[in-house]
Structure formats: C-alpha cells, structure tokens
C-alpha cells in the first residue's frame, strides 16, 4: 500500500539551488545581476570559446551579444537537482547535446527491433525439412552475435566492422515457454523469471505464450550515421545470412525470401510507427512512438512496483526528454528552449511532491490504488484537489514559482500530477487524461494565464477528445502518441501523457501497459542506457559519469 510521503519534497532541491539558509518564501529579493560569470558551466563555455577563436578563424560563442549586450545572469543562474536522486547539475548539462545519456536513451530505442523466431522456424521445418532444436538455436545465436554487429558469414573476402566500435550490439531471445527458455544458453537469453517479480513474470509469459522472439539491438554507431528506419534493414540482412550459415542453406534458394520477408515485415515489431509524408519520417523515429510503448520501455515498473508514483515519474522523465527535447525540440522545431520546458517535469522533486500528495489523498479516500471508480466525478475531485495544492505551493514558495518561471512548465507539472493521481487512483488512463484537462482549465481560471499561447487548442479544447471514439482522435491513451492530431506540437505534454499511461498500469501493478514484447525487450541488462532508473541515468549524463556507445575515437587520431 502507498507509503505516506513527507510533503514539500522540493524544499531540499530549492535549498541546493538558492543556498541552504535562503528565505524560500520571500516575495522580494535583491537581484545581483552577476552575469554569466556566476555560473561554472557558462565560464567553461566562455573559456573554451576563447581557445577556439584562433582555431576557427571566426567568432563563435559569446554571451555578450545577447539582448543588446545584456547577458544572461541578471538573476541567479541556478542548478537543477534530478528528482529523487542526488545529482545536481547545471541546466546546460540537461540539453541532449551536452548529455550523452540522453543521446543513448534515444539511440537505444531506434537501434532496437523485435523479430519473431517462430515464422522462420516454420519455414525451416515445414518448407525445408530442417530440424530446429535448442542446440541449433544456440548455434544460430552464437553466429548471429558475430554477424549482427557487422561481421561476415557465408561470403568470402568481405569487409567487416571493428568489434571495438560496435560492442554495444547484441541479440537475445525471450519466450513465454519456460521449457524452451531453460534450454537457451544464458548469455543469449532475456530471463523473464529472473528479471521480473514473480507475478509480473507470470503475466508476461502468459501474454507471450509459446512464441519466441529476438530482441535485437544493432550498433549505436549505425543509427547515428543512418536513422531508425535502418534498423529493420540492417538486422534483416544479418538474420538471413545467419540462417543460411546456421542451417546450411543454399544462399540463393527461394526459401531465403521467406526468411527475409519475416525479418523485414511479417514478424517485425518496430519501436514506433512510420509518420505521414508531411512529417516525413520512417519507422523507428520518435514521432511515431506511442505513449504505451514508452511506458513499456521504461523498466521502473519491475524494479519498484510498490511505488506507482516513482514508476510513473520515471516514464514522465523519459517521455519529456524524448518527446519534448528531441522530437518536438529538434526534429520539429529547432532551438534550445524546449529543454527548459521539459526539465521542470523531472527536476527538483516538484512533480514528485505534487503527485505523492495526490496519491496519498486518493489512497486515504478510496482505500488504495486502482480502487476509485473510473468516473468523471473521481477525476473532478482529485484533479481539483491536486491542482489547488500545487498552485498553493507556487504561491507559498516564490522561489518555486521562479524555478518554474514559465507557464508551460507549471501547466505541465500541475496537470501531470492531477492526471497521474487520477490514473493511479482508478487504474484507468482515460480518467487520468480527464484529470489532466481539468487541471489545465483550473490553472488558467485561477491565474488568468496558462502555457504557450494559452494552450488554447490542445488543453482548452482537450476535454472533448478524452472519451472520443472518432476514428482520428478516439484511441485509448496507451495507443495515442506524438503524432496524435491534437498533440503534434505543444511542448510539455507528451512525456506527461506517457506518464499518465504508465500511472494507470502502475496503479494496477500490471506487468506491462500495452505490449509485453516491448517490456521484456527493454529488460535486457546489456542495453547501454539504464532503463530502470531514467532520472538517475540522465543525472549521470549531466555529471559526465556516463559512457555512451557509438564513439569513434578508436579510429581517429587522439585529440
């Protein structure tokens, strides 16, 4: 059952930001206007830019060209504490360009493809009369883990990739069939029984059944040179070559086409859908990534299933970074502003405080998670309470308001806490979404302002799509994603929607939100990013403690 949490969790972070004995509640302050020199990271940028001046032969970074010569830092430039962690980093460290963990997060998604084994085995057995046994599967997996990184099989005089550049590549299998799983060599297996709590393992195995699947992660360096659409092609070629080698096939026989079709189309699960032509992205790019898949990729649900808020907020962090900073902020918009929006949702324990407050309130009222009736009335009570509590915190602590200095930041955090509370209380993501929109309307009504251009399309019109089942807007939240019609542009929403999706299932202590194959694939302990501890891993990236894959220093002169 829910743990009672100390309220005002954000005070520790505010003390780290503004100083230990600082009056966090004061409404007036002396602005010292110390400029960029007050901040270590800005000093580093300026010093490095000076070194580059001679080398580049042209001007570059210079904060004194900002706003007619008045640089940033007219108020205190404060650091950020990654929520629920001890990491305190500068804001700059949370831009994905400066944060290798964030880059790896996205790389790990787009280099992943899930391919069924059963269809290929049927071709081998029924069409070719070949024997498929645990021994042949293990042999196949050994060859595949040689070939998938970019090594040759079958053909002579082939070029190959340097193992040191592609060491993050691996293929492991999983199945719901314990008898088959027992026969697979441990090094090639994602062991559902070991990685998941018993009840979750049983649910996953029941959902997967006797089918078997390959979790394929191609080299990071490949998708950094190409894109997510490459992943199925790269993997399919190596899968086919491996089948030919492992099962002594003729390289040109027609059955290979069946294997290729299975590997490229019939047995493939992409991480995200292809986008329409106006957005012009192939599969395995971020715009087609559904909130349900995002909720399933994050592994906190198996590591800390007794804390649904913690689970949901790790999904919020994942989604905010992916959808806001990378997808909307860079693929769709450009510029550097989106980082500022997104970080509000995963730093300084603010969303944590509001969400724990709400879930404690709901638990007191309804007797536990997923116990409240899935009704508009429930969303009305919970979202009104949580939103009012959150607005009061901003009013009581002017430093908190100053920390979330933009309305979009506050809107995201207040509405996410309202939605997550409603979803955990009812175990229903649609009720969570209803709570989100009520929070948005209440926020606007109270302060006469909301987010970017009033969030007047997405949020003020939003309640009408919560329970809609019209064809282009009627999907359950689990199946909506970044390209859902009304969600396609507003920052500070999509990560939170993924969090609300996760919250409904975390409240029910479900093993997965929408797809068991995704949940198990990202349980692979040999992924480079730490999928169980999203915020912690972003902190590591910001603190320069994270080592990403796909580096090229092995084949370049030393700096």
């Amino acid at each position: 059952m829910a743990v009672k949490h100390t309220k005002k969790l954000f005070i520790k972070a505010l003390n780290k930001k503004f100083g230990k004995d600082f009056d966090l509640a004061g409404q007036k302050v002396e602005y010292k206007r110390l400029g960029p020199e007050q901040n270590a990271r800005k000093r580093e940028f300026m010093e490095y830019a000076k070194k580059l001046e001679g080398k580049r032969g042209m001007t570059g970074y210079n904060p004194y060209v900002h706003a007619g010569g008045i640089p940033m830092g007219q108020r205190q430039l404060v650091p950020y504490k990654l929520s629920s962690t001890e990491y305190v980093v500068e804001g700059d460290d949370l831009h994905f360009v400066n944060n290798p963990a964030m880059q790896q997060f996205w790389d790990d998604i787009r280099r992943t493809i899930v391919v069924g084994l059963d269809m290929a085995h049927e071709v081998l057995q029924k069409r070719l009369g070949k024997e498929v046994t645990p021994e042949t599967i293990n042999n196949y997996l050994e060859i595949l883990n040689h070939a998938m990184p970019g090594a040759a099989v079958v053909q002579e005089h082939m070029v190959e990739t340097h193992p040191g550049l592609v060491d993050d590549c691996n293929v492991r299998v999983f199945t719901g069939d314990d008898a088959l799983a027992d026969e697979i060599d441990d090094q090639y297996k994602i062991d559902i029984n070991k990685l998941f709590p018993a009840e979750q393992a049983e649910a996953l195995k029941a959902a997967i059944g006797k089918t078997s699947w390959q979790a394929i992660h191609i080299p990071t360096v490949v998708v950094r040179s190409c894109d997510g659409g490459t992943t199925s092609r790269w993997s399919a070629m190596q899968l086919c070559m491996t089948f030919i080698d492992a099962y002594n096939m003729c390289a040109g026989e027609a059955a290979v086409a069946d294997l290729a079709y299975a590997a490229k189309h019939a047995a493939v699960l992409q991480m995200s859908e292809m986008l329409p032509a106006r957005r012009a992205r192939g599969p395995n790019n971020p715009g087609g990534l559904s909130f349900g898949f995002m909720a399933d990729m994050v592994q906190t649900s198996r590591i800390k299933p007794d804390d649904p808020v913690y689970v949901s907020l790790n999904v919020v962090a994942a989604g905010s970074m992916m959808y806001d900073q990378i997808w909307l902020g860079s693929y769709m918009s450009g510029g550097v502003g989106f980082t500022q929006y997104a970080t509000a949702a995963y730093t300084n324990d603010v969303l944590d405080d509001f969400s724990y407050y709400g879930v404690d309130y709901a638990t007191d009222k309804f007797g536990g998670w997923a116990k409240a009736p899935a009704l508009l009335e429930t969303a009305k009570e919970l979202a009104t309470e949580v939103n009012a509590y959150g607005m009061e915190q901003y009013e009581e602590f002017p430093t908190l308001l100053e920390d979330h200095f933009g309305g979009s930041q506050r809107a995201a955090v207040l509405a996410a806490a309202s939605g997550i509370t409603s979803a955990i209380a009812t175990g229903n993501s649609q009720v969570g979404l209803a709570g989100w929109y009520l929070s948005m309307l209440l926020h606007k009504e109270g302060w006469g302002r909301l987010g970017f251009f009033g969030y007047d399309l997405q949020d003020q019109c939003g309640p009408t799509n919560v329970f809609s089942y019209q064809s282009d807007e009627g999907a359950p939240l689990e199946l909506r994603g970044a390209n859902y019609p009304n969600y396609a542009m507003n920052v500070g929403h999509q990560g939170e929607y993924a969090g609300i999706t996760s919250a409904a299932h975390a409240g029910r202590v479900d093993a997965f939100a929408v797809n068991p194959l995704i949940k198990v694939t990202f349980a692979n302990p040999h992924l480079v990013f730490d999928w169980g501890n999203i915020r912690d891993c972003f902190g590591k990236g910001g603190a320069r403690e994270f080592r990403a894959a796909g580096e090229r220093s092995l084949v370049m002169p030393a700096v």
């Binding site: 302050v29 602005y31 706003a67 007619g68 009061e392 309305g407 979009s408 009504e445 006469g448």
Partner: protein, 255 residues
C-alpha cells in the same frame, strides 16, 4: 429591455474586478501623454507620420460588399496604417491585470484588434493609431500598475519572478526604474532601446491597493479553492467544473 452581459461569476473582489475588466468600465488612474506612450511603444517617433501599407480606404475604391457597408473601419484601417503591437508583462504578485483578462478586455472593447495570450506576456496587435489609443487606455486605467506591469516587446520574463526589493517587477533589460521621488520612470522602449528622456509614469500602487484591484486568485489574497484541509470553491470553479464536464461528455457522443 436592454441586455446586460454577465461576463463572469463570483462575488469576491477578484470576480468583481474580472467583470470590470471585461466590461471596459474601468477607473482612470493617470494620464500619460500620448507622445510618451508612443515613445515607449517604440514603433514611430512621436509626431512622425504613420507608415502605411495601403492607401486610405476612401481612395482605394472598395468593392460593393455588405460587410464593408455594415462595419465602419477603425481610424487606423481607414488611413491604411501598418499593424503594430503593444505587449504587457504583469506580475503574479497582485498586478491588477492578468493575461487572459487583458485579452478579454481587448476582444470585447477594442475594434479591429488581435489579442494573443501567453503565460508571461499578453500582446494586442492592431493598426498603428488604433493600438496607440488602446495602449494609452490600458496605461491610464486601473488595469495597470506601473511597478507590477510593464510593456515588453521581447525578453519578457518577470511575471513569475520575485519582486525587486523596491517592489518593482524584475526586468532583465531594466526598462523602468524606481525614482528617488517615489515615481516610476520609463527609460527604455518596449524592446529595450534607451529613450531620449525618462518618462514619468507616476507612483505605483501600494500593496493594499494592488490586492484590492487585482484579478488573480491567490492563496495569500482571494483563494479560488480555499486552502488545504479547508476547501471552499469559488463560484468560478463551480462554473468551470460544469463546462469541463459538458466538454468531456460532448466529445464522447455515444449516439
């Protein structure tokens, strides 16, 4: 019987002030000269001709159009003025105006304008001589306190930041200053370009007066939902719950 618009629910001072802003029935607190308002807006030098984007309508030979016959053009439209803007930043610490209510005021009371509402700023665009008149109306009225509200075309942050020690809203570009004589002076235009002379905007409201005239609900002023453990919803919340529920059900449409 003449219809009297209701505009907004609630019997608190916030509800009453919101209705006043929407109705346009506002108290005039100061009279800033037109030339000074023009200088702070920064689009043209005071006394300079208006730039135009088309000839006066009378010279254009407009088509035979029932809408044109019904709607009298504003002075700026008739003259062919270009479209310019004024943008306001209002502090969350009891500034009289809040962005949506500046927009509602504009949309209800000002012809030919285009309000835009954000969290930290509120813009109205209109033909140049029209926006000058609308801006002066805002500056002179109880919608505006010269310490807690300021015109900012860019680099607008300040609405959510703590106040300066002298009670002024934070402005990175320091476009206004608090004078030793207790008056607030504009020293730069909307986009931060220094003015030829300081413009006296008069004395700021006291904290008590700002709280009396504000349109923002706050826990330390007029709360919208009571407080933790003692909830009491303002009538505005009850009306909003009703709208939210109907919007949600409308989208379901199970017919």
């Amino acid at each position: 019987m003449a219809y009297t618009p209701q505009y907004y629910p609630g019997s608190t001072s916030v509800g009453i002030n919101r209705r006043k802003h929407m109705s346009g029935n506002l108290e005039k607190l100061r009279d800033i000269p037109e030339a000074d308002v023009t200088a702070i807006m920064g689009h043209r030098a005071p006394g300079a001709d208006y730039s135009s984007t088309h000839p006066p309508l009378k010279e254009m030979g407009e088509p035979d159009c029932p809408v044109r016959q019904l709607v009298t053009p504003t002075a700026g439209a008739a003259a062919g003025d270009r479209v310019r803007y004024s943008q306001w930043t209002d502090s969350m610490y009891f500034a009289p105006a809040i962005p949506y209510w500046r927009s509602y005021w504009g949309a209800i009371n000002c012809k030919g304008c285009d309000p835009g509402t954000l969290s930290g700023r509120q813009i109205i665009e209109a033909r140049e001589r029209d926006i000058e008149a609308y801006t002066k109306a805002q500056y002179d009225s109880e919608m505006t306190d010269v310490a807690l509200c300021s015109m900012r075309g860019c680099t607008v942050h300040g609405h959510s930041l703590r106040l300066e020690e002298n009670g002024m809203q934070f402005d990175m570009l320091a476009r206004t200053e608090f004078g030793a004589d207790g008056n607030v002076y504009a020293t730069k235009d909307q986009v931060g370009i220094p003015l030829d002379k300081k413009i006296n905007l008069g004395k700021p409201m006291t904290e008590a007066e700002a709280k009396k005239r504000t349109t923002i609900f706050r826990a330390d002023g007029i709360p919208m939902c009571g407080k933790v453990g003692a909830r009491k919803y303002d009538e505005a919340v009850e009306a909003l719950h009703h709208m939210w529920e109907l919007r949600s059900k409308w989208g379901f449409r199970p017919e």
